[in-house]
Symmetry: C2
Subunit: 358 residues, 2 copies
Amino acid sequence: MAATIRDIAEFARISVTTVSRVLNDKPDVKPETRERVLAAIEELGYSPNSVARGLVLKRSNVIGFIVPDITNPSFPELARGIVIRAKHYGYRVMFFDTNHDSNVEKEAIRLLRSRQVDGIILSFNEANQEELEKLKLERFPVVQIYRKSPVSSVTTVALDNVKSGQSGTAYLLEHGHRRIAHITTGEETQSGKERLEGYRKALDEFGISYQPNLVVVGANTPESGLDCMRRLLELNPPPTAVFVSHDRMAAGAYEAVYEKGLTIPGDVSIIGHDNIEISQLLHPKLTTIDTFKCKLGQLGVDLLIEEIAADFPMNREVVCETKVVERDSVRSLPADTADVNLQAESEKGREPVEIGPG
Amino acid sequence: MAATIRDIAEFARISVTTVSRVLNDKPDVKPETRERVLAAIEELGYSPNSVARGLVLKRSNVIGFIVPDITNPSFPELARGIVIRAKHYGYRVMFFDTNHDSNVEKEAIRLLRSRQVDGIILSFNEANQEELEKLKLERFPVVQIYRKSPVSSVTTVALDNVKSGQSGTAYLLEHGHRRIAHITTGEETQSGKERLEGYRKALDEFGISYQPNLVVVGANTPESGLDCMRRLLELNPPPTAVFVSHDRMAAGAYEAVYEKGLTIPGDVSIIGHDNIEISQLLHPKLTTIDTFKCKLGQLGVDLLIEEIAADFPMNREVVCETKVVERDSVRSLPADTADVNLQAESEKGREPVEIGPG
DNA sequence: TTGTACGCGTTATCAC
DNA sequence: GTGATAACGCGTACAA
């Protein structure tokens, strides 16, 4: 049986109140008695029961964290950031992995709330945004992380996916590519949708007309990436470069290139998105876009803490920048095309010019 | 303010005792009043406070899970298994990522215990085994997962790494390889040490003498794998096959092979260990050994639940089998050598025969 | 500077 | 069948 505050009090021949005082570093306690209490604590190996404490304080110092898929390499990094930052604030993390099951998501919220967590960081897809609205209605502190919701307005920390998709595509354009394809998770996922939008924006900015047949839609798995890339390589002519919306798909895309006996970046350049570990392990190393997931997690906690303190939904929306990580999967196209590119770069406000593919 | 059991009692014009009864599906409550209580619960959106419940029951229905590195792809799968299984038993999971810092590990234990978790699943390295002993001494339910401790005897669920290393090496031997190198994390890590032992055992069984220069020690990172493989390729003659103790290192090893303009498995065959996602994304797909991490996690929870029920340390040790996953990174050596191999296979109890390298 | 007494939300005991 | 009431371990007015 673990020692309680009362045991300490008896052992130190003092009242529980005083023990509580030294426990919480409150003033008005004689150094001498403090010493005696500390000694008793040491002696009995006492550790305060934070459950009981939570009951009276109405604050558990625990936050919930719900992810749709912890085996997706982006989430562990998010988790790490969250755990680190939470600890910094004196918070612990209760963790749920829902495997994309929205019923499990609902269940997780219920369990978390009955465990009196002080707030929840989660990453829900659109299907379950109504749950967020409910929480918001009840003034329960939530922050949506990594995925921005188009319909809900709870506090969110997410990527600027449009800008990110734009910069990824621009990177290819700046390397002289003009026939640029896009492999995407499509309209189904918020990130895919937005990165696609960025892709189109970049083309537009460089005066390249959008060609629907250069955009193939799949799911965020290597298998799907393989499939999508196969389709692109059957095009005549095939694209000289591909912007892939997620690194896992890019990994599959590599396979399709090898399958055809082609090389990267010799025959086709590829840029990915997310900078997960595999991107450095592919051969050649994948040029991709870093999303600073660990920082994102930390930011999420910062916002949640604010949310908890504020005591009412702040509906903040923090958007994070991303950054191209140059590696070996993109090559510069020959000078003649590159010249056009340099020109384009210097004419930021120019009229759109039809350069056309090829 | 969330409704309490007392609010329900008042609303349903009944005592808290009765409300508690229907909440816990106890008998002795008239169907009619049960209905009324249920209605009140629905009406007020009541959800029981499991913290308060835990206080009186002395049971939180929460287990702790401490990992050294959640960004190591093995752990998310472990985590998934644990969360799934814990839920099955009505348990929640409180999560800590320590980033290999043993002080953080100690801290995590302290925090978890003060949060009154019912038990802890953790993966500590040898440096911190004394913490486990302490917990055991206090009869606190713990199970060590994924890493077996040579010094401690708390309940453990781990891999049979010796056997696994043996089968990985045997796989190469059975494919006709005789000059087989080993890249390992070395004596520092339990898994590395044991897999190395298995490597030696397999060689022994096939009557091949152990050559220290064919074993290179590194750390479980792609960079280190690259470095180790470089050293092996400088050997004269180089090995025809390499058993790499961890897939991440194998990924780095690939790089070293490509660097030299060699091919896998044409010039050198590679077999990894762990079957993490990258193994399927490498080119060619890496033949490796699956460790069934998700199941391991589930098993860990099963054991912890037993441990909690038993109320005293059971010191069980569950060892899990692994399985070779055949993919494309190992080739069979030409017939003349293969014959020796087949012969070796059929003579299980034969005398060791010096075949020698090359 | 220290101690008493109450309340946090729940379950268990025992009486009705 | 149902209802008071005492715990559980802690923090905190308020009194001393």
